[in-house]
Symmetry: C2
Subunit: 428 residues, 2 copies
C-alpha cells in the first residue's frame, strides 16, 4: 500500500524560492505561469494533450501535512515562517487548460496558472511531471492509432515503465484511441477496458502445448486468443483450431517476421475453415512497424515498449514559465527571460484554432489577453476557478474530442517522418 | 492523497493465466521464474541493478482487498474460484536477487522467483515494471557519474517524467553515485540528500535582478547558488559578487555554450576575488556533454531530462521467464520457449563474477543450480525466504557497492560509445 500527499512531488528549489520571496514580499504578487512546448516531441507534426485532469486531481491533494512539514523542518529545507505558510497552503487561484484529447503545437499555451507567485510557483514540478509524461505518451499513441487504421490496438507496456507511470500511460493511450490496456489499475481507476489471455509461461508450465491450449479454452472459452509461437507456429494453429473449432477467437504472434508469418497463418486458418479467427500481432511494434503491416492480414496489434517510452520521445519538453506578474504599483506586467536559445513570450495569453471553410485547421492563433478575440475555436477552458475544480471531464469525452480534433488536421499531419508542425502557431 | 494496493499494477493476462491454470491444476506446480536482459540498454558496456528493494516492498503490499476483488468481479476479469484464490493470496515463496548497485550483463539472472506457478506468475508485471525502470535509470546515471569524475551531479529531472517515477529515478541515480536530487519525496522516502535554490521565475517576479539576488542572499545566505543567465551573465555575476562578496557559494549557468561561458565566468569571478565561488552548469546535459566539459572550469553538474529518460534507453529490456517447473511426476524440469530470435535458457541458475589476481572482472559465470559452484563472487542473495523479506539493504550500502563493483570493471567498460558488454557472460 502506498499513501502519500502530492506536495513533496516537488523540487527543492520551489520551496527555497518561496522562502526568499516571502522574505522580499514578492511571494504575494499576483502572477501568471504558462505551460508550453518550444518544439514538438520527436520532430512530430502535432502533439496530444493528456494529463490535465490528473493535474487538477493532484492539485486537490497538494497539502503539507504533519509528515511533510516534519521532513522539511528536520532537513532544514526551509525556515519556520515558510513552514507556517506551507501548513496553511491551499491553491486559491485559477487554472485554464487545453482539454484532454485536443492537439497542441509549438508555443500553444496548454495550461495557464494564475495566483500569487507563492501559490503558483509551488505547482511547477508536479504540473510539468504529469503533463510531460502524459502528453508524450498520448502524442506517440495517436500516431500509432492513425497507422493502424480501423484495427484495434491493445496497450501492453506496463512492464516496460515505472509501475505507476504505467497506469497513466494506459490512460493517455486510451484517450488517443487505443482500444484497451493490459493494465488492471487503469481499468480500476479510470475505466479503461482491459484485455489479455496468456503468455509463453502458461504454455511452458503445462506438459505440452495441447494441454495448455485445452486448459485455456476450458477456462476462457473458444473465443479466447491463443499464443501460438512458443514452439512451432503452424502446429500450434492446427492444434488450436482442432480444440476450439472455427469459433477460435484469435491467435497471437509474438516473434518472427510478422508480415510473412501472418500471411502463412491466415492461409492456414482459412484452409482449416477458421475464417473468423483473428490474428493479433505483438513484439516491439511502433507506429512504423504498424504502418508496414497495413497490407498484412492482421486484425489487431499489441504495443508495449514503444508506447510507454513515447516511441523515441519519452518526455514532451513542456516548460512552466512566469509570463506576467504584478509590479510594485499593483499592475500586471508581462515578463520574459532572455537566456540564449530559450526564448519565451511574455503576457497572459488566449489561444484559438483557426479552421477553413472545410473545417480543416489552418493556424493556432495565440493572442495576449488584452487583444480582441479572433475567429476560431477557443482552446483554453477553466479547470480551476478560485481554487475550486470545474466538473471533471470524462475520459470518454477526451477520447471523442481527440477523434474530432484529428479530423480537423490537414492530411500532411499524418506523415510519420520527422518534420515541422502541421499548422503554424501565429502570435498576434 | 493516493492510496492503492500494488496488486492491480498487473497485466490482465496474469489473472486469466491463473484462472486457466487453477482449472488445469498447473497452478500448483512449483515453478522458477528468472529476470534477465538479452542485451544491455543502448549498446552499453554494463548495466546497473536498482529497484530490487522496491520489488520486495511492493511484494509485501501485493494483496487483493475488497476494492480490488470487487473491480475484478464486476468487470469479469476472472471467475469466482479465481477470486477466492486471490482473496487469500500471499506470496510464500523465495526471491533471490543481485544486490542493488551491483552490475549486470546480458544473461545475468538478476532476480529469481521460486514458488507455485500461481503465486509467481502474478508477480511478473510489477517486478518487471520496477526493475526495467530503475535499472535503466541507474545504468544511465552510472555513466554520467563516471564522466563527471570527482565533480558532483545533482539529479533534477522530476519535471520530465511521471511524478512518481521521478521519485524512483532520484533513488536509482543516488545509488549510481549522483550527489543529490531536487526531488523532495526522494528525500522523504529514501533519505536521498536534496538541493536547489532558484529558477528564472524567481528573478522575473522581482522588479530587477539585483532585488532578486538580494532577496535570495537574505533568505538563503551568501553561500547560496545564484542563477545568472536570466538577462546578461557577466552583469549578473558582477551583481552577485557585489552583494554576497567572495563568499558567494556558486553561480549556475543554464543556457548558451556552457564551456565557453564557464571559462568567461571563471575569469570574471577570479578577477573579482571570488576564487572559491563554484560554477554549476545545467541545460540538457547527458554523459556526452558532461565528458565534453571535463576541461572546462566547472565545479558541478545538474542533469534532468537525460537522467530520467535513461539517456536514450528509458527501459532496460529485462524479461521475466519461466525457466523450470514441476512436471506431473513432481520433478523440477528446465523449460524454454523456441520463439524465433528470442531465445532463453532453461533451468534454475546461480551466478558468479570472476575476478583476476588484480581484482578486475573477467567474466560473468552463470551455472545451473545442480552444478558445482565456481570461484568468484556470488551474485544472487536471498531477498525473500518462504514469503518473509530479508533485512532491508540500505541505500548507502547500495551506493557503496556500486562504487566497489565499478572499481572491478576493466578500463574499456567506461567507453561512452555503443558496443558490447565489458565482460562475457559464460553459461557453464
Amino acid at each position: 500500500m502506498m499513501t502519500m500527499s502530492s506536495a513533496l512531488l516537488t523540487d527543492h528549489y520551489e520551496l527555497t524560492m518561496l522562502q526568499a520571496a516571502l522574505r522580499s514580499g514578492a511571494a504575494h504578487r499576483r502572477a501568471v505561469f504558462e505551460v508550453f512546448a518550444r518544439h514538438l516531441p520527436g520532430g512530430r507534426r502535432y502533439g496530444v494533450v493528456a494529463g490535465a485532469e490528473r493535474v487538477v486531481d493532484a492539485l486537490t491533494g497538494f497539502r503539507f501535512g504533519d509528515a511533510e512539514l516534519e521532513f522539511l523542518k528536520s532537513t532544514r529545507v526551509v525556515d519556520p515562517p515558510t513552514l507556517a505558510f506551507l501548513a496553511d497552503y491551499r491553491f486559491s487561484g485559477n487554472v485554464y487548460g487545453y482539454r484532454e484529447g485536443d492537439l497542441y503545437f509549438p508555443g500553444s499555451p496548454i495550461m495557464v496558472i494564475e495566483g500569487t507567485f507563492a501559490e503558483a510557483v509551488l505547482l511547477e514540478t508536479l504540473t510539468l511531471s504529469i503533463l510531460n509524461h502524459d502528453c508524450a505518451i498520448a502524442s506517440a499513441a495517436s500516431r500509432m492509432v492513425h497507422a493502424a487504421g480501423n484495427r484495434p490496438i491493445i496497450e501492453m507496456g506496463s512492464r516496460r515503465t515505472h509501475e505507476i507511470a504505467a497506469v497513466a500511460a494506459a490512460r493517455a493511450a486510451y484517450i488517443a484511441g487505443f482500444a484497451s490496456t493490459s493494465n488492471l489499475m487503469a481499468g480500476h481507476l479510470y475505466g479503461v477496458p482491459t484485455s489479455g489471455t496468456s503468455a509463453h509461461a502458461f504454455t511452458l508450465v503445462h506438459d505440452d502445448e495441447r494441454g495448455a491450449f485445452q486448459a485455456q479454452i476450458d477456462a476462457l472459452g473458444r473465443d479466447t486468443t491463443l499464443l501460438v509461437d512458443t514452439y512451432d507456429v503452424a502446429h500450434a494453429v492446427r492444434v488450436g483450431v482442432e480444440l476450439a473449432g472455427a469459433e477460435l477467437g484469435a491467435v497471437r504472434l509474438d516473434s518472427g517476421d510478422l508480415a510473412a508469418v501472418a500471411h502463412e497463418v491466415r492461409g492456414l486458418l482459412d484452409s482449416l475453415g477458421a475464417f473468423d479467427t483473428r490474428i493479433v500481432v505483438t513484439s516491439d511494434l511502433d507506429e512504423y512497424a504498424i504502418a508496414a503491416l497495413a497490407a498484412a492480414p492482421v486484425d489487431g496489434y499489441g504495443v508495449g515498449t514503444a508506447l510507454v517510452t513515447g516511441s523515441g520521445a519519452p518526455t514532451a519538453a513542456l516548460v512552466y514559465k512566469l509570463v506576467a506578474r504584478e509590479d510594485a504599483s499593483g499592475e500586471i506586467r508581462p515578463v520574459a527571460k532572455r537566456s540564449v536559445g530559450k526564448p519565451s513570450k511574455g503576457g497572459r495569453k488566449l489561444a484559438y484554432r483557426q479552421l477553413n471553410a472545410e473545417g480543416i485547421a489552418t493556424a493556432e492563433t495565440v493572442i495576449t489577453a488584452d487583444r480582441p478575440a479572433p475567429e476560431g475555436r477557443p482552446l483554453l477552458h477553466p479547470l480551476v476557478t478560485n481554487g475550486t475544480p470545474a466538473a471533471a471531464d470524462s475520459i470518454q469525452a477526451a477520447r471523442e474530442r481527440h477523434r474530432a480534433s484529428m479530423a480537423e488536421l490537414p492530411q500532411e499531419a499524418h506523415q510519420l517522418s520527422r518534420g515541422y508542425a502541421a499548422i503554424p502557431t501565429v502570435f498576434d
